[in-house]
Point group: C2
Chain length 350, copies 2
């Protein structure tokens, strides 16, 4: 039977993208604010006649715009179809050892999916009781390391010195630092790419740049590691980034003032939400992201999740033993978060 | 060293996307006509504020539009980032046997690249002297079959009865029929997907739909085979198709009249070009695509390629022994093809 040769997998389940309106959607960590205003201007001048041509496979213009914004050479930048595409390609490129790759047991739930689909051996390192990471756990023999910083869905960030130690003491492996949420308050390892050639830093336009719908992810590293990544990319799909993403992506990264302003608004709202959740009896790590991963002192997570949904508020919950009572609540606008807090008061009878 | 664990590959080299203007670009089989007019209208109404949200990971709206145009159930349709993404995902999903997969020695040059990057054993079957395919060659033991129909870069098409025989006599394997160019004159195997569950047909919006810049590829198959493909897709990148592609793709597939009109224009220009090339001493297979793969009776291919380039005409040439004297010339507008013919007359001293 032909089915015997099919690659059997357990796919990642993305957060729901419901088609109903009037929903407060706080389940996929989207940014509540629109992209930079110049994205709108450029969208209006895109010429549909150019769609007939292939886009630039090297993503030169976008990589150059990113490089300029980050003060890097463009040869140290790689673009892909969201950070998932970048991470998947990086797993395939760099994790070819027989030794297991290492990542936390509670982290971005795509890591074990990629390891499974590409048949990469892996070892999940349990987070501490309080969801912190012990750096020493990542200094054992391995075929690679992947660390989300800040971690998801916990929101907890490691200081750059800890990240640097993991990179420095793993010179035999590639260390991938997944910084999807770094702009909301953690320290980026991009500053280390010239110091360690085994470092690959991955970021995304989907959160802090409000461009989830355009699918733009980035990797930063030394020229050599970026070259290896490009070789594998060109062995799968030469033209991954379409013309609208290449053109509009440039404008999303150029407007530093708008970027800082919206990030700061999200952070302010997050800190307000933390205070309110605390008053309601929730506990959570000190999130440096655009979400809060919170657990109530007495009411179970599934119940709160379902009650919020009845009130048209959608958050995220993971059916995994250690975290089943936690809710991951994305930070929306002030108004949306006030609605969430009011709804929680109502549900908890306060 | 970390480099020992890097996947070493020989990447595919895409046709050049030069940044200079005033070039007659006939090297990547792009359509000379713009996409359907409604694509333009919809582009103007895209709301940039929606970019902050993730696109629909199921591609429901696009798959439904494609299904409607093809008279199929949407569960039999899969969308990806160009047919390269669809084919790469299909190779990874369906070719997991220890037996070699089969494809011609002269065909789309990405097949061996995918086989190499995913470590899939393969066997290249030599085309006959005249670049035709002998069906019996594909009835030997294998771990899968991939046939481009029409074949690229030769342009030669197999009748549907031959394709059906390959599918029918390979029930133990998946047979992928790559129909990137089918709309320009060959018979599609989409009509067979309900008859053979081991069949996957791949098409693209990049040629006949003039949407190369948007990166939209399709697969058609029975619900079961499409489900397997989706499982692997969701194990690599949930959100492959961005919002502009999902929205604009629908409009590119709805306008049947425009589609037929532009395809027919390309075909008419192709037939005119064939006559002119024949007069100039070129020979070629009877192309059913939007390109002609031609060889001159006495002047070598590299020379003609270089001379055309000097005249700002870019075509494609492959540095592979059996076909090194051939030029692959994409079909542009009538005007462009007249320029090419005039340039060739000049180069050949006629």
């Amino acid at each position: 039977m032909w089915e015997e040769n099919v690659r059997k997998v357990e796919p990642y389940v993305p957060g729901e993208q419901p088609k109903v309106n009037n929903l407060i959607k706080l389940n996929t960590n989207e940014n509540p604010y629109p992209p930079a205003p110049k994205v709108k201007e450029r969208l209006l001048t895109l010429n549909y006649e150019d769609f007939r041509k292939y886009p630039d496979p090297t993503c030169d213009k976008l990589n150059a715009a990113v490089a300029k914004a980050y003060g890097l050479k463009k040869e140290k930048v790689f673009s892909g179809v969201g950070s998932d595409d970048v991470l998947a390609t990086a797993f395939l490129t760099f994790f070819n050892s027989k030794k297991p790759i290492l990542f936390p047991d509670i982290t971005y739930s795509f890591y074990d999916v990629w390891a499974n689909v590409y048949r990469i051996p892996y070892k999940e390192i349990p987070l501490n009781e309080d969801f912190t990471i012990t750096v020493e756990d990542y200094l054992q023999e391995n075929g690679g390391v992947v660390i989300a910083n800040p971690n998801a869905p916990t929101g907890e960030a490691l200081p750059l010195s800890s990240i640097e130690r993991i990179i420095k003491e793993n010179k035999e492996s590639v260390v991938i630092v997944d910084e999807a949420y770094v702009d909301f308050g953690a320290e980026s390892a991009v500053s280390l790419i010239d110091k360690y050639e085994n470092l690959l830093v991955v970021q995304t336009f989907s959160k802090s740049r409000s461009m989830a719908g355009l699918r733009i992810g980035l990797a930063f590293g030394c020229e050599k590691i970026i070259k290896y990544l490009n070789d594998v990319k060109y062995s799968i799909n030469s033209y991954t980034m379409n013309m609208p993403s290449l053109e509009l992506g440039c404008l999303a990264v150029e407007d530093e003032a708008y970027f800082k302003e919206t990030v700061s608004k999200v952070v302010t709202t997050r800190e307000w939400t933390k205070k309110e959740l605390k008053k309601l009896g929730f506990s959570f790590a000190d999130s440096k992201t655009n979400f809060i991963f919170a657990k109530h002192k007495s009411v179970n997570g599934k119940f709160i999740f379902d009650e919020l949904r009845k009130k048209n508020i959608l958050v995220r919950r993971f059916d995994k033993e250690r975290i089943k009572d936690y809710l991951r609540i994305s930070i929306g606008t002030d108004e949306e978060m006030k609605c969430v807090v009011d709804a929680l008061k109502n549900i908890l009878g306060e």
